[in-house]
Each structure stands twice: as C-alpha cells, then as structure tokens.
C-alpha cells in the first residue's frame, strides 16, 4: 500500500516535472546525472559543423580533441615540448624542409580500421582541398590543392612525410600540426559517405570529401566517438571501446547547451549538471562557499584589448596611443569585472606560449595621461567612438574605460552592436576604437605575433588583414622581425625575438592589451580528474571519473 502510494506520487511528480520541462521548452532537467555519464553545461551555440577540416569554433575544437587523434600534441606539462599522439617518433631533415613521422604500431580507428600513413596523408589532402576557414594553418606551409598530394604523403604504411616550403622554426611547424585541423580521419569510412559535387571555378573537385557527412558524424581514432550533435541543444559523445590507448573511464559525455551563467549555476547547484563551463564572476563568487562544488581554472590563449584606428589623426599621435594605456583602470577591472575569468596581461603573447613576456608596466594614471594629451596638442580632450560588442565582460570594461578616459577629457561614445556588426566595421577599418578579443589560431607565438606585430601591406585592399592592418598601423620593421622569428630554428633565440616584439608593441602600438582569459568551470565534487588545458582543444574528458 505504502509502496503503491510512493510510486503513484513519484509518477505524478515525474509527470509534473516532464510537463514543466516541456512548458519551459528548455532541455529537460535530470534530477541526478547517471554514474557513467558526465553532463557539462556549456554554451555550444558556436558549433556549425563537426568536420575537423571545416570547424574553427572553440566548442567544436574541444569536442574534436576528444574524438580525433593528431600526429603530435604539445606536452601539457611543458608546452614548449611535444609528444607523439599517433606518431611514435619524428625526424626533421637538416634543411628543415622535410618532416618524417613514424606512426605507432597497432593503431585503430573507432570503426576498427587500422590507422595508416595513407589516412594521415588523405586527411591533409582533404583539408587543403576543401579549403575551409581553418585550412590556412596548414596552407601557410606552401600547401595547395595541386601540390598537397606530393607535400603530404605516405612513404610507407607507417611513415608519413610532410614537406614545407621554407625552413620554418620546427616548433612553429609542430605547433600547427598539433591543432585540431590536422586531425586524422578514417579514410575508408569517409569515402563511403562522399557526395558528388559539380566542379566549379572556386571548387574544382568532383566530390565533397565527406564534408557533408562529417558535419554531423565523426570518423576518428580518439577515446570518444560522436553519438549526436543537435544544434543549440546538446553534443553527446560515447566511449570508443576499441580505442588503441588507455580507454576512457566514463561511458558517455553530454555537453548540454546552456547559455546563461545563472542558469548553469542553478543547474550545477541542484546537480542537474556535473560541470558548468560558462560561469561569470558574480556566480563564481556566490559558489565559492558551496562544499559540493569545486572550481577548476586554466589560463587560455585569448587576450582582450582595445585598439585605436590610426586613420583617425588624433588617435595616430604617439602620445595619444600612450595616454590610452594609462587610462585603463587595470586594477579595478582585474579585481571586479574579470575576477576569476581573466588576469591582467599587457603583452600580446598569452601565458604559456613560447617567448611570453610577463610584464604589466601600465597602471591607471589620469594625470600622466593628461600630460601626454597636452603634449599631443589635445589639451581640451577629444571625442571618439568605441564599437562594443553587446556581451559581458566587454561592455562593462568599455563603460569603465569610458569613465576613466572621461576624467582625462576624452569623451567616448559607445556604439553597441552584435558580434557581426562590430566585426564588419572593424574589418573595414571604419572604427575609432574597438574593444575585442583575439584567440590564437594555433598554439604558437607566431599566431599572435603575426596579427599584432605585422602588416605587410597597409593599403585599404591589403591582402593580409592582420589586427595591425585593421587599425592601419604601419610597422615595416616589426613586420620583418616577425617574419624572421618564424624561420629561426633555435628555440631560445626565437623566444628572445618574440620578447623584443612584445616590448615594442607594449610601448608603441595602438593596442592596449588588458587581460588574458582564464577559463573556469564549476565542478561537482563527485567528479574527479576534471582538468582544463591551456587551449580549447586540450580540455580532455577521457580521464574523468565519477564517484
């Protein structure tokens, strides 16, 4: 009788929950997550494809990293070193043009097919031939659709040879190969799913290299495989039971789309999710005392900055550029708006990257800035606009700068817009001041150095549209230095060059870098082994266990 009653009640309760979940039209809430499943609350609305040859989004990279293997990965213990993933060893020719990788024995894809050098070569080929947004990472080594078969080829079933066009720094080449674009896909499986395409001037191949199928499926050799991806709802990955290495501890990981920090926090507190990935400072603060939740964090390769368009004659004055660096209240921003999610960082290379310079010389100093403005002949101040994306913490920082700059007589009008609006204006060089972020494309100093400290052609139709170009900053000397650093084979010397570049940018550039992002996650205490890596494609879930 008693039992029946409880059963009856719980059924009613379940029905009620189901009904309210349906009414809320959000993802239904689980009471407790299953013991063999990790549920992460994560803003995954950026994902547009799962194809590693096309995806260039942070969340997609994170999922891909758990599904696909690469030849090499950077060593998380010391990011200036590398360790083999599929590759057992590699050699670099004396002229630094040829890289020969020897694969580990007995590698298997999730499908059961063996991983061969042929798969690696074909993965490179399809990336370059598809030519989607991330293809430039390998394309910059002189690869194109015509020569890729020759430059990236299988010399033997277990030997892959990669040829580059210039004697680049080996660390640069290996860093690029350790980004998710170089993921190795299962050639046999993908070939079964290719779709015919009518060749055109832009795309001269007769098939899509499985791009359409790989959008929602995966064919990798990593510890997980994709079960499903429902846009703006969830990504579900299952354990790959035929993984060649140490198998994942959990059977399944669910990335549940949750956009708002407060929603993630509520779900984490009641145990609907195990990990909350997009927490804002105030929610982090509020959870600090909760014994059921621990906070994991790791600095990431994304830096936030403001930049002054050098087409504006006032902003082009060196004193004004300098003044702006003194008009940001770094301390206050660091201790409030980005508390826990970022740390003040004024150089362009993020922490953890080769050659990083850890110097933060600037402080809020209105008097000094006023002096500089006076020297520039702008005693009465000036009026400028600032294009600001409608999202935190960027808007908060922009308003704070608006206040502090106002004290020195600089009147900033904030023009808000969505991502697309502000970026379009920025890329067309029509802004005065832009506040934004830059995430490195691959884990190598060249990625940021190229964008902050090089501008090969400052004309309006310049082909290489780096951040320096977007702000019309002409810097021939630093451009040359950036190029030279790319070809420097000695790592120590190379990092010295980047330090010098950072110093120059710090002192003279129209960029005022504010902080480096720290990724944080709230983790329920029954989850063990959750670790955030230094980049978005190193947040591995294979080692996680649950109590």
């Amino acid at each position: 009788m008693m039992m029946e009653n409880i059963a009856f009640r719980s059924r009613r309760w379940l029905a009620g929950t189901a009904l309210s979940a349906m009414l809320m039209a959000a993802a239904p809430a689980f009471a407790v997550t299953p013991a063999d499943t990790l549920v992460e609350g994560f803003a995954i609305d950026d994902i547009i494809t799962m194809d590693p040859g096309e995806a260039f989004e942070l969340s997609a990279a994170e999922v891909s990293a758990n599904i696909y293997d690469l030849l090499v990965r950077s060593d998380l213990a010391d990011t200036s070193k590398f360790k083999g993933d599929l590759a057992e060893s590699w050699t670099i020719s004396d002229d630094r043009l040829t890289y020969t990788f020897k694969l580990k024995p007995d590698l298997k894809f999730a499908s059961g097919n063996p991983v061969t050098a042929e798969d690696v070569a074909w993965s490179f080929e399809r990336l370059v031939k598809l030519d989607k947004s991330p293809a430039f990472i390998l394309g910059q080594f002189g690869l194109n659709g015509d020569n890729v078969a020759e430059k990236a080829k299988a010399a033997a079933p277990d030997t892959f040879v990669f040829t580059v066009d210039k004697p680049y720094a080996p660390s640069f080449v290996l860093n690029c190969l350790s980004s998710t674009v170089a993921a190795v896909v299962d050639k046999q499986v993908v070939l079964e799913h290719i779709k015919p395409v009518t060749p055109s001037v832009d795309y001269k191949y007769d098939n899509d290299f499985g791009n359409d199928w790989l959008k929602t499926h995966t064919a990798g050799s990593g510890p997980f495989k994709l079960r499903e991806w429902r846009a703006n709802e969830a990504v579900v990955i299952d354990r790959n039971d035929s993984y060649w290495g140490e198998k994942a501890k959990l059977a399944r990981v669910v990335y549940r789309h949750m956009k708002e920090s407060s929603a993630q926090r509520l779900a984490l507190e009641v145990g609907d999710i195990d990990v909350a990935r997009n927490l804002e400072p105030n929610d982090l603060d509020a959870m600090a005392e909760n014994v059921n939740i621990t906070i994991a964090s790791a600095p990431k390769g994304t830096v936030y900055y403001i930049s002054l368009n050098q087409k504006n004659p006032n902003l082009a004055k060196p004193e004004v550029r300098q003044a702006f660096k003194y008009l940001i209240d770094y301390d206050a921003i660091g201790s409030t708006l980005i508390k826990g999610i970022g740390e003040i960082h004024q150089t362009f290379l993020p922490k953890g990257v080769l050659g990083e310079l850890d110097e933060n010389p600037f402080k809020l100093d209105v008097a000094k800035a006023k002096g500089l403005l006076e020297k520039a002949g702008l005693k009465d101040g000036l009026s400028v606009t600032m294009d600001v994306r409608n999202s935190q913490p960027v808007t908060g920082i922009a308003e704070s700068i608006q206040q502090t700059a106002g004290e020195a007589g600089i009147k900033i009008e904030i023009i808000p817009g969505d991502d697309k609006q502000t970026l379009t204006k920025y890329r067309a060089r029509n802004h005065d001041i832009y506040i934004g972020q830059w995430g490195q494309d691959y884990f190598d100093p060249n990625s940021n150095s190229q964008t902050f400290a090089s501008n090969p052609d400052n004309s309006d139709d310049g082909r290489v549209q780096t951040l320096a170009w977007r702000n019309a900053w002409d810097l021939p000397d630093l451009t040359k230095e950036t190029e030279a650093a790319l070809l420097e084979k000695d790592s120590a010397k190379r990092s010295e060059m980047y330090r010098h570049l950072q110093k120059e940018v710090l002192d003279n550039s129209p960029f005022a870098l504010i902080y480096q992002q720290i990724e944080v996650a709230g983790v329920r205490s029954n989850v063990n082994g959750f670790k955030l890596g230094p980049s978005f494609d190193t947040n591995f879930v294979g080692n996680i266990t649950k109590e």
Binding site: N282, D329, T336, L337, G396, E399, Q403
Partner: protein, 308 residues
C-alpha cells in the same frame, strides 16, 4: 441689488455661475468643474501626485542626487547592497543606483514628452483630416493607419531603431512612429460624430475653409478624448522605451536609462537583486502614476458623464 451682492459672491460661486458674464468666465468655470470632478477621484489625484513628484525629481536632480550618475568607483563600491551611503545600493560599475534613478527620471520624462508632442498632433491631424474629408482621402489615410496598427508596437519600434541605429533620439522617433495610429483612430471617430452637426454646417455656410474648420472647430472637440488616451498611453511609452533600453537599442551607456539599468542588473538578479529591482520599481511607480492620472482624467473629461 447686484452691486450689493457682488462682493459677497464667493470665487467658487463666480466660477460655477449659471450665467457666466464672459466667455472667459465660462471656460474657467468649465475647467473648475472638471478639476472638481477630478479631485473627487482619489486614485486620479494620487496619480497626479506621483507625476508631480516625478517632475520635481527631474527638476531638482542636481540637488537630490548624492553621487554622480555616470562615474562610479569600480574598485571599492561595486554591487554594494542598499546602505546609508548608497540608499539603493550600487551597480556593477560601482555607480550609485539612487542617483542614477534620479537622473534617469529626466530621460524618462524627455522620452514621454517628446513622444506625446510628436505622436499626438500627427495622429490628431491624420484622424481629423480623414474624418472630415471622407472618401478617398479617408480610405488612404485609414489604410495607412491600419498598416501601422497591424504590427505589434514593440516589434515595429525595434525594427525602426534597428534601421535608424541605437540611441535615445532614435528610440523617441521610433516610439512616436508606432504611437500615432490609435490617436488617428480616436480623432477620426470624434470627427465623424461632429462633422454633420449644425454648428459645422453654419461655419461652412459662413465660408470657412476646410482647413479652418478642421483646425478651429473639429480639433478642439477631439482634444479631451485625446488627452485621456495620451496620458493612458504614457505608461506604455515608458515601458516601450525601457524595453528598447533593455535590449540595448534605447539610451546608450553611460546614460542612466531605467530599462538599460534593468538589463545590466539582470545578470545579478540571484545575488544582487537591487541592481535590477530598483529601476524596475521606478518604472512601476511612474507607469502606475500615469495610468491612474489617465483614469482620473477620463472620468473628469468624459463629456457623457459631464453634468453641464
């Protein structure tokens, strides 16, 4: 006889006199009667009181505010709860919410007044012209009005602001564009009831131009119902302006617009409720004030309930 009685006749008696000696006395008498009807409505008086308080807050914002509305102390005064120093707490940039709400009242009033000044005359003109002219003019003007009425107000305002660019001036313009059609409808209805009345015929016989008839003889008849409607709409205008501010298309930072203040406080609703709640209260009170005032005015101005 009259010379003796005149001084003892009270001011009230003079105003309510059954036989006004001049036009001036008659209209003053009417106004006084209306005012007395209005006073009898307690809620209406309360609404008027709220609006008067709002007006004086806006007028004396400089004296009333305890801090700067735009400059805050980010480092030391962020998200403080209400206290003796900060009566309504501080927001996420360390600004005093009380001072921001005080200054925000100016923005709210400016928006409401500008919209009323733009939309009411436009609606009045369109409605009276359509009603008086009839025929094709009527059809065309009223179909245009229908088109505007077919869209939800906020959505239409949103798309106008999106096209014009964010900012408080454009928000005012957009709200005005969406606010006039109901006034045109009311004015047309009123016009239809008086257009064939005798006094209009007389004016026509005397050779008055249509322009003069509409302006001098029809529009005054529409005024009272229009005033009521505009007052009642003001709450809606405030909400629309706040809605635009909330989605970031109204007043731009650092302006202390109430809707934008709620939007920025939304992120803290769980732990620092006052950031969003205080401007929300302000909107609530002022909207309530305008609504009560409008109700009171309707009762007082409605000619059908008039005893004269």
């Amino acid at each position: 006889m009259s010379a003796v009685e005149q001084p003892t006749m009270s001011r009230r008696g003079w105003l309510l006199s059954e036989r006004p000696a001049s036009r001036w006395q008659a209209s003053l008498g009417r106004a006084y009667a209306t005012w007395r009807r209005f006073l009898a409505n307690r809620l209406g008086v309360f609404g008027l009181f709220i609006i008067i308080v709002l007006l004086s807050i806006a007028a004396f914002a400089d004296q009333l505010a305890t801090y700067s509305p735009v400059a805050g102390d980010l480092k030391n005064a962020r998200l403080l709860p209400p206290s003796a120093q900060h009566w309504l707490g501080t927001d996420d940039l360390g600004r005093d919410i009380y001072s921001r709400i005080i200054y925000g009242s100016r923005l709210t009033l400016v928006v409401v007044m500008l919209v009323a000044v733009i939309a009411a005359p436009v609606g009045l003109l369109v409605g009276t012209v359509a009603g008086y002219a009839g025929g094709w003019t009527d059809s065309v003007l009223m179909r245009v009005t229908d088109i505007f009425l077919a869209f939800p107000k906020l959505i239409l305002a949103l798309s106008f602001v999106a096209a014009l660019g964010p900012g408080i001036e454009n928000a005012v313009l957009a709200i005005a564009i969406t606010a006039w059609p109901p006034y045109a409808r009311i004015a047309r209805a009123e016009t239809l009831t008086v257009r064939s009345s005798d006094y209009i015929k007389v004016v026509q016989q005397m050779g008055a131009s249509p322009f003069r008839i509409v302006l001098r003889h029809i529009m005054p008849m529409c005024n009272s119902s229009l005033i009521v409607r505009v007052t009642l709409d003001m709450a809606g205008i405030i909400l629309t302006a706040a809605g635009l501010g909330f989605v970031g298309l109204g007043a731009q930072p650092p302006l202390p617009e109430w809707g934008a203040m709620i939007a920025s406080g939304r992120r803290f609703i769980l732990d620092q409720w006052w950031v969003a709640a205080m401007p929300g209260m302000a909107i609530l009170i002022v909207s309530l004030g305008f609504n009560l005032l409008g109700e009171g005015l309707r009762d007082a101005l409605d000619p059908r309930s008039s005893d004269q």
